[in-house]
């Protein structure tokens, strides 16, 4: 794995009918270290999903570049969308198999399903799954491609608190066993602190980086909600500008 450079000079939505042209992102530079877990925190509507779509090559109407620092190629992407986007006519297992190129990867899929506690449901169609389970399938699918960069767009939104905690714990354990560079979008600061190595705070219209903060809490203590809350308070006190973003 190599580092990833994201440099977006400008992303503008053109004027349509009565809506004026709108610059969503301007001069945004991010450098992602290999294996680093980064949380992007910003107010809703600030263009976080637009940024992820640009990185995933779903939106190519922008000025700038996305690339692996040691090669000229684009990074291989695993994307966990805000809604799981599973193919309803394919079973859980088929949904994962479809993204994997190598037909000999059966054992990798088996172990991923096992780690995400999905083995009993692997032959079930997505319509019969709960939202929490669908999200776990989406996470498994993204890990299955062994990406250079994992994009996660508020993947735990609209889950109830205990389910979100459970899926988050599963995600972290999977990530610790299979380290990948992660760009995780959220507007929940507690969630960001629980997950990230580094927090990047973003402003709205046009989006740009306000501050970058390392999370000093050791991984083993991330399940301690008191430690997370203390760090959150400290952050809000030290950086009053952050409060406005949340």
């Amino acid at each position: 794995m190599s580092d990833i450079q994201i440099n977006i000079i400008n992303k503008t939505y053109p004027a349509i009918d009565q809506a004026e042209a709108h610059t969503a992102i301007a001069d945004l530079n991010l450098s992602l270290k290999s294996g680093e877990f980064i949380c992007l925190v910003g107010p809703s509507g600030c263009g976080k999903t637009t940024l992820l779509n640009i990185i995933a090559d779903l939106d190519y109407d922008y000025q700038g570049s996305i690339g692996l620092s040691q090669q000229s190629s684009r990074p291989k992407i695993g994307y966990i969308f805000q809604n799981p986007r599973l193919l309803p006519w394919r079973t859980v297992r088929e949904n994962i198999e479809l993204v994997v190129e190598d037909p000999l990867s059966t054992h990798i899929i088996d172990s991923l399903l096992e780690e995400m506690q999905l083995t009993p449901s692997q032959h079930v169609y997505p319509e019969r799954l709960s939202l929490g389970m669908s999200r776990r399938v989406a996470i498994t699918r993204a890990f299955a491609v062994d990406p250079d960069l994992l994009l996660m767009d508020e993947p735990f939104v609209s889950l109830d608190a205990p389910t979100a905690r459970q899926v988050r714990a599963l995600l972290l354990s999977l990530w610790q066993q299979r380290p990948h560079t992660v760009l995780f979008v959220t507007h929940d600061l507690r969630e960001a602190i629980a997950l990230a190595d580094r927090l990047i705070f973003l402003s709205a219209s046009p989006m740009s980086v306000i501050s970058e903060i390392r999370v000093p809490i050791p991984r083993a203590d991330r399940y301690d909600e008191a430690a997370i809350e203390t760090f959150r308070q400290q952050l809000l006190n030290d950086y009053p500008a952050i409060k406005q973003l949340l």
Partner: protein, 248 residues
């Protein structure tokens, strides 16, 4: 519950036959033969091999023209549904072809290409094609962009995207085009055969009409309706069940 429904279906069929029998006895001439007389003609036509031969010829024409119309129509429909400029360009053509009467296309095909088999098939395809395109185009317009983005992001090839993402979403539209298509093509093929072929159901019906042989016309009609029902029950329904097994 299911038994009651089957009983009702049987009862309605019997009622229909009784009504037919009653009317035939009341009218009492050869323009409306009794069900028994039609059954006898049906049996004789089957044994002589006439009915299976002509039905077979028509079915073959149906199969060929239907397959061409569905394949071509699906491909064009998907292309128009996905590309706005292409759609804007060809929309008028579609409207024109949708509104040309079937009889006109058939006559023109025979005049331009002669009374040959390929002209007959072409006439059927041209008649069916626009409605397949319109139905599939509606399907292609309503494809879920989120799923297409997912496929793109995970590097699905065009073929993989078509088979696993696009086609399952088009299934209801394809089935609608198939069902309406079968019904339409049957009717057009009969006219095509009546006007320019020397075999097939249409040719036979024309012959019976000239001889005022109503019993044979009804016997062939029953064979005809029976085959369509058979296609529905043995091919389309199982296909539906298989394709929609993922639904709750």
């Amino acid at each position: 519950m299911k038994l009651t429904q089957q009983f009702l279906a049987l009862l309605s069929l019997l009622a229909f036959l009784a009504l037919w029998q009653g009317s035939a006895l009341y009218i009492n001439n050869h323009t409306l033969p009794t069900p028994a007389a039609v059954a006898l003609v049906f049996w004789q036509a089957c044994v002589s091999g006439q009915l299976p031969f002509h039905l077979g010829v028509t079915l073959l024409r149906l199969l060929v023209s239907f397959s061409i119309a569905m394949l071509l129509g699906s491909a064009i429909g998907i292309a128009l549904g996905r590309h706005k400029k292409l759609d804007a360009f060809f929309d008028n053509w579609l409207v024109i072809f949708l509104n040309v009467p079937a009889l006109v296309t058939i006559i023109l095909c025979y005049v331009w290409f002669g009374l040959i088999e390929s002209a007959a098939i072409l006439a059927v395809v041209i008649n069916k094609l626009p409605s397949v395109i319109v139905t599939i185009r509606e399907g292609a317009r309503s494809l879920d962009q989120d799923l297409l983005d997912m496929a793109r992001c995970f590097g699905f090839s065009r073929r993989k995207t078509l088979i696993h993402v696009i086609w399952p979403q088009l299934h209801p539209f394809v089935m609608a085009a198939t069902r309406s298509g079968l019904a339409l093509i049957w009717k057009i093929i009969l006219v095509v055969e009546l006007l320019g072929r020397s075999n097939g159901m249409g040719y036979q019906l024309h012959l019976f009409f000239q001889m005022f042989d109503v019993a044979s016309i009804l016997a062939y009609t029953i064979a005809f309706v029976g085959v369509i029902q058979l296609i529905e029950l043995s091919i389309l329904k199982p296909l539906d069940r298989k394709a929609l097994r993922w639904r709750r």
